[in-house]
């Protein structure tokens, strides 16, 4: 078991930042840690890195207890903190060497590792620049490179794609996918698509509590509401489709479109009904925004308890 958290609670003043959560991450798993701002994602990660102590509960990372063996935990984890703090007055390779030396690498091994990380993270061109001269995307790569320098068993990434442009997001996601082979990776985000793009399992946390812990497919299935958006040549009468039993609601959208809220993917049935009624469909798709709906449902409904 690479990460084992049982009954973890963290209290700041009177506020329970993390409220009695438990989960386990197997070796080799990539887990997305999802939640709105202030849900307790970063706090959990900081505890897993021994930066903050837990108020109560047991946290084991890479087989070591964070309160009893913090140095061993840190030696076996790579961590990319939120906002990716870097020593901006250092050169890229100088910084990576420093990070490597702190982890006890030296001589040829250190040189090789730094070289590998630079090519893995695509920093060849930038390696002789000062970090302050790098764009945000490249800084993020430097942050990833330093977290990997000692080949850690467990990788903890706190919002690795925040503030990047769409191209950079894709690049960093691919990078995470590449490096995560045979490592345990846990990364936090508040973007559901990101989890879907990188990993299978997702842990959703809200107000310090775990509200979902499953693979994406079953979370999608569990919430039996899908949104289908159909575009017609000319707007038909919505009542035509209300005979379908799966349809829970129909909404008229701009540009002769109808939005169906349905319990399962019934695109073919909609097409058949349309064909039977001589209505021409020019486009039909399952809206990906249902991910956001689910996220919204998971993180707002259960607030009262």
């Amino acid at each position: 078991m690479s990460i084992k958290i049982s009954n973890l609670t963290k209290v700041f003043g009177k506020q329970n930042a993390v409220d009695n959560i438990s989960f386990e991450v197997e070796e080799g798993e990539i887990v997305g840690f999802l939640g709105p701002n202030g849900a307790g994602k970063s706090t959990t990660m900081k505890i897993a890195n021994c930066y903050l102590p837990p108020t109560s509960g047991i946290v084991e990372v890479a087989g070591y207890n964070v309160t009893e063996q913090p140095l061993l935990v840190r030696r076996n984890t790579g961590y990319l903190p939120e906002q990716n703090p870097l020593y901006t007055d250092m050169y890229v390779h100088e910084y990576l060497q420093f990070a490597g030396k702190i982890h006890g690498l030296s001589g040829k091994t250190l040189k090789n590792r730094v070289g590998e990380m630079i090519s893995l993270c695509g920093l060849e061109v930038e390696q002789n620049k000062k970090i302050e001269a790098l764009s945000k995307g490249y800084r993020q790569r430097v942050g990833l490179a330093q977290s990997l320098i000692h080949d850690p068993k467990v990788l903890i990434l706190d919002e690795p794609t925040t503030g990047l442009d769409p191209n950079q997001i894709v690049e960093i996601r691919n990078l995470i996918k590449n490096i995560s082979k045979n490592k345990t990776v846990i990364f936090s985000t508040h973007i559901m698509q990101e989890v879907q793009a990188i990993c299978n399992r997702v842990i959703v946390i809200n107000k310090g509590k775990i509200v979902a812990d499953d693979n994406i497919a079953s979370i999608l299935k569990g919430k039996n509401e899908i949104i289908i958006l159909a575009e017609f040549e000319s707007l038909p009468n919505p009542d035509v489709f209300s005979s379908l039993e799966e349809v829970k609601g129909i909404e008229i959208k701009e540009g002769s479109k109808l939005e169906f809220t349905v319990s399962e993917d019934i695109r073919s049935k909609i097409m058949k009904v349309a064909a039977a009624n001589d209505i021409l469909i020019i486009g039909i798709q399952v809206e990906s925004s249902n991910l956001e709906n689910i996220f919204h449902q998971l993180t707002t409904v259960k607030q009262d308890d």
Binding site: P53, L71, R74, P81, P85, F98, H103
Partner: protein, 242 residues
């Protein structure tokens, strides 16, 4: 810890702090020793290094906080403290690494003043007519004093994320510890305790060392003051876990 020292010292060198500190120190002390008519040895007529050892502490009182003010404050501000504290390093590794790097820089500023000693030695009549044990004692005193100022600076830096606050606090604390206490001791109100209060201050012990008599009590006092400030620093750094 060695890595932290190297990294900190490198950043002194690459950010010009090192050159500025060393050149300001040497220029300042050089002016006092050789140029300003009131304090110049050439006018004074006695072959000693009084100027270095009496003005040195006041120059260091400003320069050392300037060296140390960024050590933790900048890490707090840029967030790198979280990175550093999640590496396989203990709090002591980090504190002592930063402390040693700062002290090392001060030592590098002090080394060139050996030239002054050599000059005074040669200018003496007859040549070599200088109280060498007193000079050696004073150097040890100055070194230990620098160690105290550095620990005060590191501690002040650990208190705040604002470098200017850290600088001001460090200068003020250094001043109070160095001569402030002994000046306060002169107030008549607590006349009975004045010797005790004076002994808490640094200047009493520093002057004792300057006479060339290396008394372990004075050395121990200065070392324990540094240790105390570093313990306070450890307490502040560790306070995130409370």
């Amino acid at each position: 810890m060695i890595e932290i020292i190297k990294k900190e010292f490198n950043s002194f060198l690459s950010s010009l702090i090192a050159y500025i500190v060393i050149s300001v120190f040497l220029t300042g002390i050089g002016l006092f020793m050789w140029v300003f008519p009131e304090t110049s040895i050439l006018n004074y007529g006695y072959a000693d290094m009084e100027a270095l050892f009496s003005f040195g502490p006041y120059v260091l009182m400003f320069l050392i906080p300037a060296i140390t003010m960024r050590s933790f404050s900048e890490e707090y501000k840029s967030g790198t403290i979280e990175w550093l504290l999640t590496k396989p390093l203990t709090d002591w590794n980090i504190i002592l690494g930063k402390y040693a790097a700062g002290l090392l820089l001060v030592v590098f500023a002090l080394i060139p003043t050996g030239v002054y000693y050599y000059s005074v030695y040669q200018l003496g009549n007859p040549v070599g007519n200088i109280d060498s044990p007193a000079v050696i004692g004073s150097y040890i005193g100055l070194l230990l004093l620098s160690a105290v100022f550095t620990s005060v600076g590191i501690c002040a830096s650990a208190m705040t994320r604002n470098q200017i606050t850290s600088f001001v606090v460090a200068v003020f604390l250094s001043f109070i510890l160095y001569s402030g206490l002994s000046s306060l001791a002169a107030i008549n109100v607590w006349a009975e305790f004045s010797v005790f209060i004076e002994k808490i201050g640094i200047v009493y012990h520093y002057n004792a060392l300057s006479r060339g008599l290396i008394d372990t009590r004075n050395v121990f006092y200065l070392l324990s003051l540094s240790t105390f400030m570093l313990l306070v620093t450890k307490l502040i750094i560790g306070s995130r876990k409370w």
